[in-house]
Amino acid sequence: MKRYISKNQKRSDALSKVTGEATYTHDIVVPGMLFAKVLRSPHAHARIRKLDVSKAAALPGVKAVATWENTPRKLFNSTGMMAFLYPGAKPAMDEYIFDQMVRHVGDEVAAVAATSEEIAAEAIRLIEVEYEPLPALLDPLDALEEDAILIHGDIQDNNIASGTHTIRQGDFEKGWAECDVTYEARVKLPIQKQAQLETHAAVAEYRNGELTVWSPTQSVHGTKYILAHIFDMSAGNIRVMNPPYVGGAFGVRVGFGGKAEGIVSCLSMLSGYPVKLVLTREEDFTVSDTRHSGYVDIKLGAKADGRFHAFGMNAYLNTGAYGTHGIEVAACLGNMATSTYRVPNIFFEGASIYTNIVPAGAFRGFGNPQAVFAVETAVDALAKKLDIDPVELRLKNRIRVNDEWPLSYPCSSTALDECIKQAAAKIGWSEKRGRAGQGRFRRGVGLGAGTHFCGYDELAHVSLELETDGSLSVFTGNSEIGTGHITSLQQITAESFGCEIEQVNIKYGDTRGTPYDVGCHSTRSVFAIGNAISMAAGELKEQVLQYAAGAMGCSAEALSIESGRVRGGPEEMDLGQLARDGHIHKTHFSAEGKSKEAVTVTPWEAHAAEVEVDTLTGMVKVLKVVAAHDVGVAINPQLVEGQIEGGVVIGIGYATREEMSINEKGEVYNSSYHTYMLPTFADTPEIEPVIVESYEPRGPYGAKGVGECGLVPTAAAIAAAVEDATGVRFLEIPLTPQRVLDGLQAACVTCQAEKEGGTIDVE
């Protein structure tokens, strides 16, 4: 019986957060701090012909103006991808802090640091710029044309960011010809925005040759490395910190966010003062990274008995003006699309393609939601053609442990079958499927299944120290972005070492004093850092017991650590006493946990949704979502459920409401919470998270991860439910009332509803 594993331990940050004491980057105040504002391009694509900042610089209160002329001419990639990548990938090194070209509406042109925000804003208005507008590309397919304008023509001769990801298994062409049933389609995915509650911000202080940056970044070490690269500084002289809390992230800030960290660093160096930049909500919406939109073409074929036989996919992702995570998103899309089901013949090619719109980067799911939307559409289509129940078809074809698949790591555990069965059972699949009727309001149920990965071949490294008072400090370069995993890591620490959980302090979110870590993203933190912690805790325990055995004159094998005391010997020893005893004259108790090899494991998920479609208004009401997740062992079930539910809410938004619209000039329409339709509480249906445990032998206490998984199959499940309700399978999301009405009208479903009439009133 484990004391701290599978327990709903209260969050370690709970008190700070309910009292309002929690500090976020917006709250950082440094003596002498200046305030920054950024001048942004009104054009989607233009060359800067003339830039005159003299009036701005002369304004009283302005202490520095930064432009391409006085900032480093060093190409970088603003995301963690510069700092860590999966094997074989090449980062898209395509950004300068400021350039003479602007490549999307909102692209940074210059920045000002002044004694107040008002003065900085006034100074921005005094900067005179002469632009030479250039033709702009908005659609990734246009950007692939032979004669398309090159968006980064100075560094490459095409519009593909960091390369094309390819997967080959078997022989697709041959396999396709051998299929008894086939389906092909193109799906279109929208731009979705993280819209986290804390807009991006950063504070920098350059002093005594050292640069200190406060930021809500998800990767403090990654950001540090990017800064070191840009400023040609020794990395050890840069410190990046979370304050320690982050007001949501969801991938928007794995590395820089809106280049804020780089901009404030420049301004601090130029002015000699600390500088703070807080993005307005409008800026956060229109210039910080989004989810990749684009097109996914899918071909899926099967034999008459339902076995999938050939899978082909082309993904054209729109990465906008800068590559950010570039090929990694296309790779995740392709890898996840091809690792849920057994298919002997696979072809995949995908890329992130430059256009002149706001850059796309990382957003919870990272290409997987796009993949699953396409794949599950095809699976349901084949189920229909084969006249096999969609649940059965998935169970038949799902990947099993150690199956051949295109990934570089094996499938070491899966309970996807259980996830699918439970999701289907709990939504009432057999009672509700195919019962839509012909009325105005039609109900349906649908299912979506998928997988993900817990980190991608990334190492983890932590250090543990027994403090002089007997408490245990854990040093990790990871960040707490709201998921609560720091608490789960505390649980793992206490369990592995044998102390009381109140004695464990996890120090995180600061590059000083913590070993390198790629950051909180990629569903990796509990898995990778948990493993490193239990490794280190085991070693530390060994040190303590050896020492205690020596001190007591007994054998170490007889001893154990329980509730913070060494037991089993002639006397009990208090850890604090032991530490004080040892630290000054005899020995120091500390240990490193360093992964010996990069390991990846796979979580699994299946969502079942029930919807009601009003065929007169096009409104899709999601009635219920059952989200069944194989997370390995849930270290803290309540936190896992919170992650699942939170993911589902975003998934519902992706499926039914959320879409960034960009006009022909490249301007973003949705620049506020007023115009970007996040699900509010009023739109949130009943969500039933179901934890399906499997034991992952390579995870800490059997754990895997869940962070991104909560929204991976949601949109697919909802689209499937809408098809069950209306007979129409939508290949484009979100399913806004307008889009649904148009689709229903095209399929003549509305004709029936119009005859019937009825009243309309959305509460």
């Binding site: 699900p679 509010t680 009023a682 009332p737 009439g757 009825g758 009243t759 309309i760």
Partner: protein, 290 residues
């Protein structure tokens, strides 16, 4: 944004401040729309003159045959007021749908009208109530709500010189029913795609002596559908009649395409929305005694 902020305690004091600033000051109700408009237009006014401390403008009372709602009464107040619920229930309904609790605590009805949004929920309901704006300033006057719009997002009220001190609604006579409804893409805090308010008065024999049908989202301001009202006027009130009239409604509106909804879609949704409003009004009216 603004340089000075005044909270006068009387209408007179407010008008003096406006005059003093010679067109560079502005009246502010709750500020929920005004502040954002100033921000997006990058406009700074010399002085904001708040009506928030003018006690007389916060009253809701009966005055003879009129329900008088003070210009500084907020949506939450209006939503909950027993007089409003009794005499003009559609107005209480409209106010309840506005934004979120904290918005309703701040937003004033007068403010909603003067910011001239094409489909402000309360403005649609007020139009259907035959509301009249009492305006004080250099040219004191009363204007029907329907005349309060000078163009798209343009008010006939000049908030740099004058203020809407009250909104007067004639008390309905006879057997009266009203209803407000809206369609939005999300349940809370969303701009409507389409909204509508309807009211019916019946005589003892069940004939329609008066009707009002107002729609927001099909023009630059709330649109009164006079033709539909004519079709109802003097007729015996029946469900069939109402359905017929609603069915004819798409021919009498001229909406434009917008990012939230196409013109065709709005026309398609209109009959159902109006049916909700008219049938509910009819039901309410028939239950009343003469």
């Amino acid at each position: 944004m603004w340089n000075e902020f005044e909270s006068p305690q009387s209408v007179q004091d407010a008008l003096v401040i406006l005059e003093k600033h010679g067109g560079n000051a502005r009246v502010m109700g709750g500020g929920t729309d005004l502040l954002m408009q100033l921000k997006s237009k990058r406009q700074t006014v010399e002085c904001l003159v708040s009506t928030g401390k003018i006690a007389s403008m916060k009253e809701i009372r009966l005055e003879g045959e009129k329900l008088v709602i003070g210009g500084a009464a907020c949506a939450m107040q209006v939503q909950k007021d027993p007089l409003v619920r009794q005499y003009v229930p559609m107005l209480a309904q409209a106010c309840a749908k506005l934004g979120a609790p904290q918005i309703r605590n701040a937003a004033t009805l007068a403010g909603n009208v003067v910011t001239a949004k094409p489909a402000a929920d309360s403005a649609v309901a007020l139009t259907a109530s035959d509301a009249v704006l009492e305006i004080l300033g250099p040219t004191p006057r009363s204007i029907p709500l329907i005349d309060a719009y000078a163009g798209l997002m343009q008010s006939a009220v000049d908030s740099t010189k004058e203020m809407v001190v009250a909104i007067e609604i004639p008390l309905p006579t006879g057997r009266y029913g009203s209803h407000f409804a809206r369609i939005a893409s999300r349940r809370a805090a969303a701009l409507p795609i389409l909204n509508a308010a309807a009211a019916l008065c019946l005589d003892d024999d069940g004939n329609i002596t008066k009707s009002r049908v107002v729609v927001g989202g099909v023009g630059p301001s709330p649109q009164r559908l006079y033709t539909l009202e004519d079709m109802l006027q003097g007729q015996r009130g029946t469900i069939d009649l109402i359905e017929q009239v609603c069915g004819a409604s798409p021919d009498h509106v001229h909406p434009r395409d917008s990012i939230r909804s196409s013109a065709a879609a709005r026309k398609g949704l209109l009959p159902g929305l109006l049916k909700k409003c008219l049938l509910s009004s009819f039901e309410m009216a028939t239950k009343k005694e003469g």
